[in-house]
Symmetry: C2
Subunit: 593 residues, 2 copies
C-alpha cells in the first residue's frame, strides 16, 4: 500500500494561486510570508508528518494506551519519541504568539500542518492538536502570573494541555455539571469532581499537563451561568503531584492512540482563568479553535482514505472496461476504469479539494479577524468565521466520514479487513461528528445563534457574495457558475424559511437546522470550487502551471456541480418542512411493542 | 440499556393487515397460514431470538473466533449451545422443503425470523443464515444421490454450509478464479486452490460442513463461462476428513462472531453440482437468496440501533425543550424533546418500518414466483423480485448502515465507546454494503441487466403501478400520495435517461447507476409507506387496532414524504448527468503530487 503522501501540490495551489497569501501585507504577520515560507510548510512539514508521524498510525491503533496499576498512563510505542521530534522540529510553534516563544506566523499556515498531522496519525495529533486553543485561552483569560508561569512551556510544547468539560451526566448540557471549586486562602481553588472523555487526560509525552477545567464556585448560580474555568496542572509549581488522577481509559471504536480518560479531581489545586461564572466564554475561545480543527480532521481523514483507495483502484484488476479497454490482452482492467469506482473517487476529490480551499480561506479570515489593521475588516471577518465555524466542524466531519466509508467501499472485502488500513480510518473518523459539540448542536448553533439572531444578515451576506461571484464569472465557467447561482437561490429561500420558523415556532427552526447546515456547507464548498476552477482556468489560459493538475480541477468542479449542487433543492424542502412530523409522536410511541 | 425487543406489533401489522397473508390460498402453502401461525412466528420466534441469541452479541464481538494450532476453529462461547437450541427449536426448517424434512411454510414468514436473528446477533446468524440458499442450490443442481445424502442433514441443521467463491486476486470478478477441479475415476473431482473471505469456513457448531465451491475443470473456457460448482464436504461419506483446511481467520472491522476463513483445498474430494461450466448459474440461486438476506441484515441493524437509541433518548436528560417543557421543575429534559434527536429517530423509523414492509411484500412475491398456480403470475412476480433484488440488497444495507451511524450519534460520546453497544452495530453493519456483490455492482445489475436489457419494461411497470396507487389514493392520504406521485415522475424520467445512455454510451449508464438504485429504493420505500398509511387510515376510520400505533404510522409516512421524497429530484439529475465528469481524468491524475 502506498504510504500517505502530503497533498503538497494542492495546498500550494490554494495558498499561492487562489488565496495568494504571499501577496498579503495585512494582517502584519502576513508580511513574513513569501513563497519560500509557503514551500517550507507545504513540503518540509509534509515530510515530517509523512516520515515521523504516519509510521505510528497502524501500530497505535492496535496497541492503544494503557493505564498501569500505579495509575500511570502510557501511549503507544513511538509516540513519546515522535512527540520529542515534533517539539524539536519547531512546527508546533509556527503560529504561536511571539511574546511566549512562538513564531507568530499566520494561523492559515499552521492549518496545513494540522491537516497533514491528522492524515498521518489522528490519534497522535490529539495531543498537540489542542495547544493552539489552550494557549489562546490562557493568553486571553489568565493572570499575568499564570501566563508567565505556563505559556512559555505550553508554546514550546514542553507541557501539553487538556480541556476538561464533560461529566458523566453532563455531556452537551454543561449547565448540569457538578465539579466544585472551593476558594483557598492563598487565592487558589480546590477542585473536586469527575470528568469523562478527557483526551490526553494523562500520558507519557510530557512531564506536566495543564488541565483547563470547568467547575462551579460555591456561590455559583445554576446552569451555564454558574460555570468558571480553572487552570489545574498535573504537577504543581513546587514539583509535587496535584490531586488529579486517571480513573480509567475509555474503550473506544477508534482513535486508540489517544488516551481518553476519566479524570478524578480530589481537592486538586487550580487557579481561576477569567472572571468567576464566566468560564464558558473563556472556554469557547478554545472550543471554537477546536471546532475548526475537527473540520480539518474530517478533511484529513478524507484525503488519507482517498489516497489509499486511489492507489488500490489503480493497482487492483477486476472486471473489464465497458467502453474501450486500456489493455485488450489482459484478463481484467484496473478498478479505475469502472464509472462507479470513479464516482466514489471523484466525490472524495470534490470534497477534499473544495473543503480544503474553504478551510484555508476561513483560516485566513481568522488571521484577518485577529490582526487586520482595519477594524471594520476585522469585524466582517470575525462574523464570517463565526458563521462558518459550525459549518466547517459539522459538514467537514460528516462528509469526511462519508468519504472514508466510500473509500473503504472501493477496496471491497479488503476494505473491511484490518490489514489494509481502511477500516481504521472509518473508525477514527467517526468521533469527529460527535466531539466538540455533536453535529446536531452545530446545526442548531448555525440556525439559531449564527443566522436567526441577526435576522439572517451574515448568512444572506455570505450567499449574496457567492451569487455576485457567479454572475461575474467568465462564461467558460458557466458549468459551475450557473448551477451554483441557482443553488444559492435555494439557500436564500432556506434562510427566509428559517427566519420565519424562528419567529413563529423555534421548534420548526430546530427541525430544519440540520438540513440548513448541509445546505450552507454544500454551497460554501461549491463557492470554493468556483474559485478553484476560476484560478485553474486563468492559469491554463496564461499557459502557467501544471496543465494536467489544472485540468483535473476543472473536471472535478464540473463533477461537484453535477453531483452535489442538485441536493440543494431537497435540503431547502427539508428546511421549509419544519418539525411537525418529527414532533408528532409521544415519547412512548418511540418504544417498540 | 434496554435489550433488543422483536418488533412484533409492526411485523404483525404488515403481515396481517397490509399484506393479509392469512387470506391468501395461492401459492398452496399459504393455505397453511392462519393468524395463529403468524402470531407464533411473530412472538415465539421473537422470544427465541431475544432470549437465546441476543445475549451472545456483545461477548461474541469481544471474543471473536479462534483458529487453534491444530487447525480447528472455535466460535465464541455459547454459540454451539445456541446453535443446538436453534436446530431443536424447529424455526430453521420453517420454510424448508417438506420433501427433505422442512415444514414447507412461506418464505415470507422465515424472513421475519431472519430479521430478528440478525438484530439479535448478526455474527451468530451468519452460520444458519446461509442455509435457505444452500438448500435451494443443492435441490436445484444436485444429483439424486447428492440430494439424498446431503439435503436431509442440511435442512435439519445437523450440517451447515458455505459458499466458497472469492479468491485473493478474484473478488467481484469471478472469471479470474483459478481453483482447479480434476475429474477422478469414481466420478468425483479433486479440488485444489485457495478461497478467501469464506463465512463459516470452519467452526465448532456442526460436525460436517458442506462447502459449495466454484472451480474450473481442466477443459474450462476462460472467464465466467468456465466456472463449475462443486459440493465439497468437510467430512467425507466414509467419515474421513476431506482435504479442506483453514489457513487463517480474517481480522475484520466487525462481525467478529462469524469465522471468516481462508480455506485451502488440497485435492479435496467434491462432486459436480449442475452442468460443467454452468456453475455461476447454479451459484446464483444461492446468491440471490443471500442478497435479499443482506438487505434484511440492513433492516435488522437499523431496527436494533433504533431501539437502543430511542431508549437512550427517553432516559438521558440533556438540555431543555425549545417550546413547552414537559417537566418545568427538572434541570433538563429528555433528549427526546429535541427536534434534531427526533429527526434522527424518525428517519430510523421511516426506513425500518417502510423497508420492512417492502421486504415482506417482496418475500411474498418470491413465494408467488415459486408456487403460484398461474404461470403468468409466477412470471410477473419473478420479474419484480429480480428487479428489486439489487435494490433490497444495496439500498437496505446502505440505509441500514446510515441509520446505525445516526443512532450512534443520538448517544453522543457514549455512542463512540464500546460499553453502550452502538459502535458494534455500526461495525457489524458495514460489511453488508460489501459482501454478496458490492453495492456498486448491485447498481450496475439494476441498471444494465434489470432495466436496460428489457427496455425498461419491468422498471416502468413497477413505477406505473406506484403512480396508479397514488392516483387512486384517498384524498386524506394526499400528504404522501401527491409527493410520491411527483417523485415517480422523476423515476420515469430517470429510466428514460438511463435507456438513452445505455443506447448511446453504456459508460454514462454505469455512471448514473448508483443514483438510479437510490432513486428506485427511495420510491419503493415511499410506495411501502403509502400502503402502510392507507392501511392505518382505514383501520383508524373503522375504529380497529391500536390507535397510538396507527397514528404513529401516519406521522411517520408524512415524515418520509417530507424528508426523503425530495431527494428524487437530485437523484434524477445524477442519472442524467452520466459519467462525463467522472471519466475525465487519466489514471495518473488520481495520484497526489
Amino acid at each position: 500500500m502506498t504510504a500517505y503522501n502530503p497533498p503538497a501540490q494542492d495546498v500550494a495551489f490554494i495558498l499561492k494561486h487562489v488565496l495568494r497569501v504571499q501577496d498579503r501585507q495585512d494582517p502584519a504577520n502576513y508580511s513574513m510570508v513569501d513563497e519560500d515560507i509557503i514551500d517550507a510548510v507545504v513540503h518540509e512539514a509534509g515530510r515530517f508528518c509523512r516520515d515521523i508521524v504516519a509510521p505510528l498510525n497502524t501500530m497505535s491503533d492496535q496497541q492503544g494506551c494503557t493505564r498501569h496499576a500505579d495509575g500511570r498512563v502510557t501511549t503507544p510505542e513511538g509516540f513519546a519519541a515522535a512527540y520529542r521530534a515534533w517539539t524539536e522540529s519547531g512546527w508546533g510553534t509556527l503560529a504561536q504568539p511571539e511574546e511566549w516563544g512562538g513564531q507568530g506566523m499566520p494561523h492559515a499556515l499552521f492549518t496545513v500542518i494540522e491537516e497533514y498531522l491528522n492524515s498521518s496519525c489522528a490519534g497522535f495529533t490529539m495531543y498537540p492538536g489542542i495547544m493552539a486553543g489552550a494557549v489562546a485561552t490562557v493568553e486571553a483569560a489568565g493572570s499575568d502570573e499564570l501566563k508567565a508561569a505556563y505559556l512559555p512551556k505550553m508554546v514550546s510544547g514542553e507541557w501539553l494541555a487538556t480541556m476538561a468539560l464533560t461529566e458523566g451526566h453532563a455531556g452537551t448540557d454543561l449547565g448540569l455539571m457538578k465539579t466544585a471549586a472551593v476558594p483557598q486562602d492563598d487565592g487558589s481553588f480546590a477542585l473536586s469532581g469527575e470528568k469523562i472523555f478527557i483526551s490526553g487526560g494523562d500520558h507519557d509525552l510530557t512531564e506536566n499537563i495543564v488541565h483547563l477545567v470547568l467547575a462551579r464556585l460555591p456561590d455559583a448560580p445554576a446552569g451555564t451561568r454558574g460555570i468558571s474555568l480553572f487552570l489545574v496542572p498535573k504537577i504543581l509549581p513546587d514539583g509535587s503531584r496535584n490531586g488529579v488522577s486517571v480513573g480509567s481509559i475509555e474503550h473506544k471504536m477508534g482513535l486508540h492512540g489517544s488516551a481518553t480518560c476519566v479524570l478524578n479531581f480530589d481537592g486538586a489545586k487550580g487557579w481561576l482563568l477569567g472572571q468567576p461564572h464566566q468560564g464558558l466564554a473563556a472556554m469557547f475561545i478554545m472550543m471554537n479553535a477546536a471546532r475548526l480543527a475537527v473540520g480539518v480532521q474530517g478533511l484529513a481523514h478524507a484525503e488519507h482514505a482517498y489516497q489509499r483507495a486511489a492507489a488500490y483502484a489503480l493497482d487492483r484488476k477486476q472486471g473489464r472496461a465497458l467502453g474501450q479497454r486500456p489493455d485488450p490482452n489482459s484478463a481484467a482492467d484496473s478498478l479505475i476504469v469502472h464509472p462507479d469506482i470513479r464516482r466514489m473517487l471523484m466525490d472524495a476529490r470534490a470534497f477534499a479539494e473544495g473543503f480544503r480551499a474553504l478551510v484555508l480561506w476561513s483560516a485566513v479570515q481568522i488571521d484577518v479577524s485577529h490582526g487586520a489593521s482595519d477594524p471594520q475588516e476585522r469585524k466582517r471577518a470575525d462574523a464570517l468565521v463565526s458563521f462558518l465555524t459550525p459549518v466547517i466542524k459539522a459538514f467537514g466531519s460528516d462528509r469526511g466520514f462519508e468519504v472514508a466509508v466510500n473509500m473503504q467501499q472501493v477496496l471491497g472485502g479488503h476494505g473491511y479487513v484490518t490489514e489494509w488500513g481502511m477500516e481504521q480510518i472509518v473508525r477514527d473518523a467517526r468521533i469527529a461528528m460527535i466531539y466538540e459539540g455533536a453535529n446536531g448542536v452545530q446545526a442548531l448553533d448555525l440556525a439559531a445563534r449564527k443566522t436567526a439572531k441577526d435576522g439572517g444578515q451574515v448568512a444572506l451576506g455570505f450567499l449574496h457574495m457567492i451569487a455576485g461571484e457567479c454572475e461575474a464569472a467568465d462564461p467558460s465557467l458557466a458549468f459551475i457558475a450557473d448551477p451554483l447561482g441557482k443553488a444559492v437561490h435555494h439557500g436564500e429561500a432556506a434562510v427566509k424559511a428559517l427566519l420565519e420558523h424562528a419567529g413563529a415556532n423555534p421548534v420548526d427552526m430546530a427541525g430544519g437546522a440540520y438540513a440548513y447546515l448541509q445546505l450552507i456547507g454544500t454551497l460554501a464548498v461549491g463557492w470554493a470550487w468556483l474559485q478553484l476552477a476560476s484560478t485553474a482556468k486563468a492559469m491554463l489560459d496564461a499557459g502557467e502551471g501544471d496543465a494536467a493538475f489544472l485540468e483535473a480541477k476543472l473536471a472535478t468542479a464540473r463533477f461537484y456541480a453535477e453531483q452535489q449542487l442538485p441536493l440543494c433543492t431537497a435540503l431547502r424542502h427539508r428546511v421549509k418542512a419544519g418539525a411537525g412530523a418529527m414532533m408528532a409522536l409521544t415519547p412512548e410511541q418511540f418504544l417498540r411493542g
